[in-house]
């Protein structure tokens, strides 16, 4: 084959594969059924050292080893949605994230991925939230604080979905051995508050705005696909108004609180009370409870402070 012929072959091959539809080789992880074993436990810790109180909460839950097996692929999913500084309370606090990443590494994780599909420009969000700079300080190649790779969104059928039948999910989130959800609790114009259930918006693709049309039900449906092993709610600072991105320091109330539960609904329900509201005020909590994703009646949960 002469050079010309060879180039022709390569060009044809190139053109051929570029025009065929992509094929995903992914088999979505088996979707878990309702697993929260009653009574749902909620662990709460208070203090000014956010790294410490986060570690204390995990300790009380039986240590990270309970969730992260040696060699596990771990995903820690904070909220990095906005180009805001930690004081502005729009994103998860970097120390809370760092604590969880460190503990997962100590438990022998093979990799710890931290990512979010941001609303503002992703490089600004990762940087100014303080999360990327903080994680870089760990200097461990197993920590991967990477931007979302659009190629990795794959369509997933939502078997038990009441409103949504199919949506695009982030492959790495689906494939994680241990998925730790780390939302920041804050005000939100449409849903009232944004908590753990809403944090899943950061691992879905497509035009996310449509989720708002029936937000409570849609969020509950999405949450049947990705079931976090652990939900850690950052309530160190609460953004009380102008959520979800705020901007004014006067709208932030310092609470120095971190709480965690293996039951995502219970975690959201408890976090709601920190805003002086009852769990049933949040439609996604109610919808998820009705679908059996967890417990929203706090009187049925054991609440432990450490």
């Amino acid at each position: 084959m002469d050079r010309r012929e060879f180039l022709k072959q390569v060009a044809l091959w190139y053109a051929g594969i570029m025009t065929t539809a992509p094929v995903f080789r992914l088999v979505p992880r088996a979707m878990a059924g309702t697993s929260a074993s009653p009574p749902s436990g909620i662990i709460v810790s208070k203090g000014e050292d956010y790294f410490k109180i986060t570690a204390a909460v995990i300790e009380k839950m039986g240590g990270m080893g309970r969730f992260v097996k040696p060699g596990a692929k771990v995903v820690v999913k904070p909220n990095i949605g906005w180009d805001r500084s930690p004081e502005q309370a729009a994103n998860t606090h970097p120390q809370v994230v760092r604590a969880l990443v460190t503990l997962a590494l100590d438990a022998g994780a093979a990799s710890v991925q931290v990512f979010d599909r941001t609303c503002n420009e992703e490089r600004r969000c990762y940087q100014n939230s303080g999360i990327k700079p903080e994680l870089e300080k760990i200097k461990d190649p197993r920590v991967k604080c990477e931007f979302i790779d659009e190629r990795k969104f794959v369509p997933v059928k939502i078997e038990g979905g009441k409103a949504l039948k199919e949506w695009q999910f982030y492959k790495d989130a689906l494939e994680a051995d241990c998925y730790i959800n780390v939302p920041v609790a804050k005000h939100h114009g449409l849903s009232g508050l944004t908590l753990g259930m809403k944090n899943i918006m950061g691992v879905i693709g497509g035009r996310r705005g449509q989720i708002h049309h029936d937000i409570g039900r849609n969020l509950a449906d999405l949450n049947t696909v990705i079931r976090p092993s652990l939900t850690v709610v950052d309530a160190t600072r609460l953004l009380l108004r102008s959520g979800p991105q705020g901007g004014k320091i006067e709208d932030v109330s310092i609470r120095n609180t971190v709480l965690a539960s293996t039951d995502p609904v219970a975690a959201d329900a408890y976090a709601t009370t920190l805003f002086g509201q009852t769990p049933d005020a949040i439609t996604s909590t109610v919808a998820a409870f009705e679908m059996g994703l967890g417990e929203m009646r706090l009187e049925k949960c054991t609440i432990t402070e450490v």
Partner: protein, 513 residues
């Protein structure tokens, strides 16, 4: 190595150095994790005497940002057009293409005068308030072409290749290709794929400059480039020149080999056409050429006639009026959104050299070139197109890279207060109004610390007859800065139900205070 070859090598090293610097600064024209860009990425425009002259004439003010241009003038006063031969990245690229594109024929007759004509038209038009430099300035052509077409095209092609392996290749191939792709992304490719309106226009303009090499080496530089013309005029006074000033009788070497065709029909050398490439040190069969400091004696006149100049001057006067009588410029409905920090529209049009730096740096790919929507005057100026990309609230990059100050450098506080435009809801389309569907994604994204979008809670009868509580958005106009994120995120197909329109200036035109 032969001594004469050393000179040529020195020139080539210098050219490659500045080309590399140019490409490096091009790549650095981006967000890097810092709120301010650490390099003077717009350097090549700031030392561009053509841009400086055209902007100074049009605005009748001295723009401090453009003072480095004096250094290039100074350099030319001493050494002649070394800038063209040793520094200009477009010249270097054209020299580089000489290996690929060979002239198809000898140029029929010299066309050197055209560049003086172009220069005259640009400067006279500028003096009458029309900024045309962006059409013909070599850096504007080059950077704009790269920003709008070459760079995105390059990225798309490379990425398509890696994507093909990623989606269709076997596992082992992906294991190899992905690390290579990561390396490409870190060092060669832009951070993300940008998209611009009508890239073909800028591509064709730039490609045209290269295609002209078919008609002769450095065709653009010797016949068309107005910056070259300007430096040529300055170099009439330069001290460093080639000797002898006459090509020898019975020898055609100078005539045929000089890439700038710096010799007239009477064998006289036109020092202002010489870009000091030093080739004649080598090709001279008798090896008698030298370059040295000598008093600026010019044997031949500048190759342009008074007729040409009068014609150019008249054109330069007429074009601004052609723009003035164009209704397009007066039509408020054609006003576009300017980037944050933009001068008042009239001054903006005079000051902007259409370089494309702001389009390149925009972190949201929100800035797009204006094409014909604003008439001749607006072509290639930047506009914000929120449906494609919004202006990031805390970003101030475009003002930092603008070489002429058409976009002011804003502090974060000034940026937060700068009004690009104002948002307006179209209730006929907005979901909570038009179809009683909950939405307010716009309110969620509105970045002003006191939200410029608020909502009323209303109870309506839903489709099924049951009562439904809805949040219906509206804009607090005084709080809105026109960033356009609401327009961008509106989930409706087609045009957004909330759109940003130009504000301020236009309304004060209509209702003077």
């Amino acid at each position: 190595m032969n001594k004469k070859l050393v000179f040529r090598r020195a020139r080539q090293v210098c050219q490659i150095f500045f080309l590399a610097l140019f490409l490096f600064l091009f790549r650095q024209t981006d967000y890097t994790g810092l709120d301010t860009i650490p390099y003077a990425v717009n350097l090549f425009f700031r030392w561009d005497p053509l841009a400086a002259a055209a902007v100074t004439l049009a605005t009748r003010t001295v723009i401090p940002l453009l003072l480095p241009a004096l250094a290039v003038i100074g350099l030319t006063l001493v050494f002649g057009r070394v800038f063209c031969g040793w520094i200009c990245p477009l010249g270097t690229l054209l020299d580089g293409t000489a290996r690929v594109i060979r002239p198809v024929s000898r140029p029929l007759r010299p066309l050197r005068h055209i560049k003086y004509v172009i220069l005259t038209v640009v400067l006279v038009s500028a003096a009458f308030g029309l900024q045309l430099a962006g059409w013909v300035d070599p850096f504007s052509l080059l950077v704009r072409g790269m920003v709008i077409a070459v760079d995105p095209l390059f990225n798309a092609l490379v990425t398509a290749g890696f994507d093909a392996v990623y989606f269709h290749g076997p596992g082992w191939a992906t294991a190899v290709s992905e690390p290579v792709y990561d390396a490409f992304k870190s060092f060669i490719l832009p951070y993300k794929q940008s998209l611009f309106i009508w890239p073909a226009v800028s591509l064709v303009m730039l490609a045209g400059v290269f295609a002209l090499e078919l008609l002769g080496r450095r065709f653009w530089c010797r016949n068309l480039c107005p910056l070259g013309a300007m430096l040529a005029l300055v170099s009439r006074f330069s001290f460093f020149r080639r000797k002898p000033l006459l090509a020898c009788k019975n020898c055609e070497a100078c005539h045929h080999e000089c890439r700038m065709s710096a010799f007239d029909d009477d064998r006289r050398m036109m020092a202002e056409e010489c870009n000091l490439c030093l080739d004649c040190l080598e090709f001279c069969p008798k090896q008698i050429t030298t370059f040295r400091f000598t008093p600026p004696v010019n044997r031949a006149p500048v190759d342009v006639t008074r007729r040409h100049l009068i014609g150019a001057g008249l054109t330069g006067i007429t074009l601004p009026f052609l723009v003035k009588i164009d209704a397009v410029a007066k039509d408020p409905s054609r006003r576009v959104l300017r980037p944050p920090g933009a001068l008042a529209e009239e001054d903006f049009l005079k000051t902007c050299v259409r370089c494309g730096e702001c389009l390149k740096v925009c972190i949201q790919n929100a800035l797009q070139p204006v094409l014909l929507e604003q008439g001749l005057d607006g072509v290639f100026t930047p506009r914000l197109v929120p449906r494609l990309g919004y202006c990031e609230f805390n970003c101030t990059l475009c003002g930092q890279v603008c070489p002429t100050g058409a976009l002011k450098r804003l502090t974060p506080a000034e940026k937060h207060a700068f009004v690009i435009g104002r948002a307006v809801f179209d209730r006929n389309r907005c979901l909570p109004f038009a179809s009683s569907t909950p939405c307010i994604v716009c309110e969620e994204h509105c970045p002003t610390s006191e939200k410029a979008i608020r909502f009323d809670e209303v109870v309506v009868t839903g489709a099924g007859g049951a009562a439904l509580t809805l949040k219906r958005p509206y804009v607090i106009t005084d709080l809105c800065v026109g960033c356009g994120i609401c327009e961008k995120v509106c989930p409706l197909p087609g045009p957004s139900a909330v759109r940003v329109y130009p504000a301020g200036e236009i309304s004060s035109d209509l209702y003077p205070v």
